[in-house]
Structures are given as structure tokens and as C-alpha cells.
Amino acid sequence: MIEELDMHILDLVQNAIAADANRISVEIRCIDDQLILRVSDDGKGMTPEVRAAVERGFFSTKSPQAVGLGIPLLKETAEQCDGSFSLETAPGQGTTVTATFRRSHIDLPPFGNLAATILDLLVMCEGRDLEVSYHCDGRDLELSTRELAGLLGGVRISHPAVIKFLQDYLTERIGGNVR
């Protein structure tokens, strides 16, 4: 199902979109042996009942076919990797999910194709305010849909020439294969 960390990030951002968020921030940071993933949004948030159901698993409002295991799996993986998990939310107050991991833990999943996933997020969040921040192993990236919209005028992020450019740009900045 979700075996790589980039798919968890994608899942969390899709949760934010499903919560009608306008501002979404994705933070990936490495501090010594710790990896911190944080996704915050200003969406509709969750009541304590919904939050409890989400944490138990097999609960989703995204679509009838959604499985509803994204959050429980992320929590399990973080805790298994000597890390922590927190979900802060309240109705009307948005949601912040933070997961930490010990990087040297043998069970730490790979990032997958992080550059490609960030590109997917940018395309998916066009029209919303998405900020992505990545700081790991001397590689740094700060990028937002707002900044891209400013540079692109009316041209869409999904324009083939823009996609091509961002693939190369993201690969150069954070490494890995894009698509």
C-alpha cells in the first residue's frame, strides 16, 4: 500500500485538499539522525470523534473506495523507527501532522521518488497556496505555488515545458530520479 515516505507525504496533502485547505505547508527536515516530516493545512480540521476514527483506521471521507489507513500506517512506521507521531487538529483550526523517524533505523522506508512527488504536489495544488521546504544532507529547497504563479503569469504549472523544467530543477536541488 504505502511503502515509501513520499507516498505518505502525497497522502497527507490529499487529506489537506479533501479538507478544503487553501494554505498547505510540507516540511521535510533532517537534524542529525532525526528525520522530521510535517504537513500543516488551514482546512476544516477534525472533531475529536473524527480524529479518533482516523487514528483507529479504516475511516476516510475522501472517497467510497479510499481505505483510510494512511494515518495509522504513518504512525506505526514512525513509532517503529524510534520516532514519534502527532496529529493536532480542531474544527475550523486546520490540521498539522508531524512524524519523526530515526534515520539510521533499519526499518526506515526509503523516500521513494521525492522529486517526482513534489512535482505532483505542485501540479495538484495549483490555485492553492502550497509551500514545500526540504533541508536534508546539505540539500535545500524552498518552493511555493505562489512563487511559481508569480514567475509563470497565466501559464499553468502543468504546461509540458514547465513540467520539464521543474523535473530538472527538482532533481538538481534534491537529487533522485524525477518520473
Partner: protein
């Protein structure tokens, strides 16, 4: 690479837009949820972009969305065409994507074998 290079791309894209009078005839939406990506949606998107670029179909835009709710048929692709019903394709591979461009977008004949839904 500098992000500012996007300004050049913008100028070029704006010129293309003027050439075709700003008309978008067809919108192709590739479902890119976690299950779609696991099923190969990224390769499908790349095939669409490549084939549309090769054929210089400047009145077609390709975009992507989150979960479409049809995980059993992913990758899922929707074709929205002005004044026509929306055609939803399932189990799309890069080869099928190229067929959709040639047969549906260019010649107007949907690739029937892969159509899973038609929405008015």
C-alpha cells in the same frame, strides 16, 4: 539552474497561446493519487505529454488530480471535451495513452476497450 528561467518558458508559452487564440479544446486529467501512482500513472502522464508534444496539439491541456475513487481500475484518465460527454478511461498504460491521443484526441474516436464511464 535558476527558477527565474521560468520567465523565458512563460514568454514562449504565452506566444503559443496567442497563436491558437487561447482556445483549449480538450482537457486530459490523469488521476495521480497514491494508488494511481503505484499503478503507473506517472508513466501514463509522461506518455501523454510526450505524444501531445510530438503532435504539437497546442489546444490540448494535460493536468492531474488526486484520488479518483476507482482504485481497482487505475491508472484512470478523464478526457473533457467542449460540448461532448466526459470519457473516463481505466487501466491506462503508456501505450493506451498514445492511442487515446491518436484515436480520440486527434480523430475523435474514443478507445472503446478502455472506456469505463461516460458522463454527460
Amino acid at each position: 539552474m535558476k527558477l527565474e528561467e521560468l520567465r523565458k518558458i512563460r514568454e514562449k508559452a504565452a506566444k503559443e497561446l496567442t497563436l491558437r487564440g487561447g482556445q483549449v479544446r480538450v482537457k486530459v486529467v490523469v488521476g495521480m493519487g497514491t494508488s494511481g501512482i503505484a499503478a503507473g500513472a506517472r508513466d501514463v502522464l509522461a506518455a501523454f505529454l510526450d505524444e501531445i508534444g510530438k503532435r504539437e496539439l497546442t489546444d490540448v491541456i494535460v493536468t492531474q488530480s488526486g484520488e479518483r475513487g476507482l482504485a481497482s481500475a487505475e491508472p484512470v484518465v478523464e478526457v473533457h471535451e467542449e460540448g461532448k460527454p466526459t470519457v473516463v478511461y481505466g487501466n491506462v498504460t503508456p501505450e493506451v495513452a498514445r492511442r487515446i491521443v491518436a484515436e480520440h484526441l486527434v480523430n475523435g474516436n474514443p478507445v472503446a476497450d478502455y472506456v469505463i464511464e461516460v458522463r454527460e
